[in-house]
């Protein structure tokens, strides 16, 4: 990018103020078709993303429906203070971050692993069946998944609990067990989403030039060498892209799932920022505080995306830009 700019600037030969502006004009002119192509998409972002973004100002206001977004009273950072001064906030933040990091480690990596395993399968029929079957659960809602989990783990009627009781004579209540709550989130997420998450890597894998493997075999490279030298580099960029984006949402620990799985006995380890906002919204219709939380999460997320992208480029990856 830098070199290209340099060349363009150099050939322009213009001086003064024009010197900085002209290359852009020239760039626009030279690549007019490329820029024109982007117009519909850019218009979409302007209209349906940037215009509504004005709504974010209610994070700094006391939103009043009668006065509207613009007419409401400014309150500065009061809404943020409300959030941060909640006696539960430290616990909420800790749970959110922990669960989020766990998810990155224990749910992003299995996606890749499943794709790699499927990639090793030579029997196409087997591969196809496993692929279609494993992403089935993705389309179930968390409500249904919890219903299934409940029928296995309910303290009295659950299949597993019943079996355990018959074996050991003791009752077991995993759903209300503090130590088991986070693993339960990860296991069910793994079960539900891994098949789907693998597909994106599979597509990347399928576009790897098969001749590379041929060449590697001729070279005498074994299975692990092929994996290391051909397969993994083939999915590296996607993995990094997904990682950057995931890091940006680190303050989302998965509201839909947690809201449904949470109960009062595991609040201590499972209550997250979003469930707090939700409860508050339910009782009090507090748009301003909800927006303030969203804004806070977005700012942190954006900073993290910028840093992650920079890091990725520094270590030789391509990053997003």
């Amino acid at each position: 990018m830098k070199t290209e700019n340099g060349i363009a600037a150099g050939t322009s030969g213009a001086k003064g103020i024009n010197r900085r502006l002209q290359p852009i004009g020239r760039d626009l002119l030279r690549n007019r078709w490329l820029y024109l192509m982007m117009v519909p998409g850019l218009l979409y972002y302007m209209i349906y993303h940037y215009v509504p973004m004005g709504g974010l100002i209610i994070a700094f206001k006391d939103y009043n429906m009668g006065d509207g977004i613009w007419g409401s009273r400014w309150t500065g950072f009061d809404n943020f203070v409300t959030v941060f001064s909640s006696p539960d906030f430290p616990q909420l933040l800790r749970n959110t971050l922990l669960i989020s990091v766990y998810r990155i480690v224990f749910n992003m990596v299995p996606d890749l692993l499943l794709a790699l395993m499927l990639n090793e399968i030579r029997a196409q029929w087997f591969k196809r069946i496993v692929q279609s079957v494993t992403y089935g659960p993705y389309f179930l809602s968390w409500v249904i998944v919890y219903g299934l989990v409940f029928s296995f783990l309910a303290p009295d009627s659950g299949l597993i609990s019943t079996g355990w009781r018959e074996l050991t004579g003791q009752s077991i209540s995993l759903l209300t067990d503090k130590a088991f709550f986070r693993p339960l989130l990860l296991i069910t997420d793994f079960w539900k989403n891994t098949g789907f998450g693998a597909i994106i890597y599979l597509a990347a894998l399928s576009s790897i030039n098969k001749e590379l493997y041929e060449a590697a075999v001729v070279d005498g490279a074994g299975r692990w060498r092929q994996l290391w030298n051909i397969t993994l580099p083939g999915v590296r960029d996607v993995f990094i892209l997904l990682l950057i984006l995931r890091v940006g949402t680190i303050l989302d620990a998965g509201f839909e799932q947690i809201y449904i799985f949470l109960n009062a006995r595991v609040t201590e380890v499972g209550d997250i920022i979003d469930t707090w906002v939700f409860r508050r919204g339910l009782e009090q219709l507090d748009f301003s505080v909800a927006t303030a939380v969203g804004f806070f999460k977005s700012v942190i997320g954006f900073i993290l995306v910028l840093s992650a992208n920079r890091l990725a480029k520094k270590f030789g990856g391509s990053g997003i830009w």
């Binding site: 972002y45 209209i47 349906y48 940037y50 973004m53 576009s207 075999v217 940006g248 809201y259």
Partner: protein
């Protein structure tokens, strides 16, 4: 994977892979089976078994009769199909037209635009302002309201951009030589049958993956529309909707696929094969081969 002589450890690994995939497959198959069984089990039997039936003793089609007894669900289904097909088509066209130019690193406005787009993945004004905009653009109470506000999936666009970035530049140059403008080049690359006329092996390879990309894109969006409608229903409880309506980014969100290696770094200096990452190198070799040069067919980095 290319067939080679299998060692014992290979066989053990193979067994392990087949075994664990079968296990995981069965574990994920179960809910589909479960939902299907529940839909045809009489309520009394469900009750008797505490809501958990593995094999129904009697079968009832009552639930299905109920669904189709009024025109509400068939109608909803019809709208879903229309929105999915139309939405996917529009989505694909606009997303491609955005992703392709953004894959060109020489565009001076590329980075600002990309940052601006990623920004929208994180910041959103919420449901009410979006509703106001949808209403102001005259989409209220039309199918457009279901399609236009999600016209571009940023996630898909980024993946597609990565894919374009890794296309070998030779392909495009060939198109340019043929006198194609940017748009035509794009069409030629995106529409494989046209591009295939070039007879370039590399492109044929790409074409396979592109077909894969396209079909996946269709499948994905079809499914994601479905998933979104389900999600919308769950969302009644979500702060997410209030905070970030229309935001696409979530773990395992709707996604297109089809990305390959870091070819772009290599493309800058195609004359030095050793500095190329693998695929660019192979293509380069094939070009060289066509030009009658003898090449060493070593793959992988040593």
């Amino acid at each position: 994977m290319v067939e080679s002589r299998k060692t014992l450890s290979d066989k053990v690994v193979d067994f392990f892979i087949y075994f664990s995939l079968t296990l995981f497959g069965l574990a994920t198959l179960f809910p589909l089976y479960y939902v299907a069984v529940m839909s045809i089990t009489p309520i009394a039997e469900v009750l008797r078994n505490g809501g958990f039936v593995l094999w129904p003793k009697r079968v009832t089609w009552e639930a299905y009769r109920f669904i189709f007894s009024s025109d509400r669900i068939p109608n909803a289904l019809k709208i879903t199909v229309i929105v999915t097909v139309l939405g996917t088509f529009c989505n694909l066209v606009v997303t491609t037209m955005l992703a392709y130019p953004l894959s060109k690193k020489h565009l001076r406005l590329r980075n600002p635009i990309l940052i601006g787009i990623v920004f929208t993945m994180l910041f959103s004004g919420g449901l009410i302002p979006l509703y106001l905009v949808v209403s102001a653009t005259g989409l209220l109470n039309s199918i457009g309201a279901l399609i236009v506000p999600g016209l571009v999936s940023t996630f898909n666009m980024l993946i597609m951009k990565t894919y374009f970035e890794n296309l070998p530049s030779e392909v495009e140059e060939a198109a340019k030589v043929d006198g194609c403008g940017d748009l035509l080049t794009l069409i030629r690359i995106v529409l494989p049958p046209v591009a295939a006329d070039h007879g370039n092996d590399g492109l044929v390879l790409r074409r396979q993956s592109l077909e894969c990309l396209l079909c996946r894109h269709y499948v994905f969006d079809g499914q994601s529309a479905h998933a979104d409608s389900g999600r919308a229903a769950q969302h009644d409880r979500g702060p997410e909707r209030k905070l970030r309506a229309g935001r696409q980014l979530r773990r395992n969100g709707p996604a297109a696929a089809g990305v390959d290696q870091d070819g772009d770094r290599g493309r800058r200096d195609a004359s030095d094969p050793d500095r190329l990452p693998v695929p660019a190198k192979v293509l380069c070799q094939r070009h060289a081969a066509r030009r009658g040069k003898r090449v060493d067919t070593a793959g992988g980095r040593r």
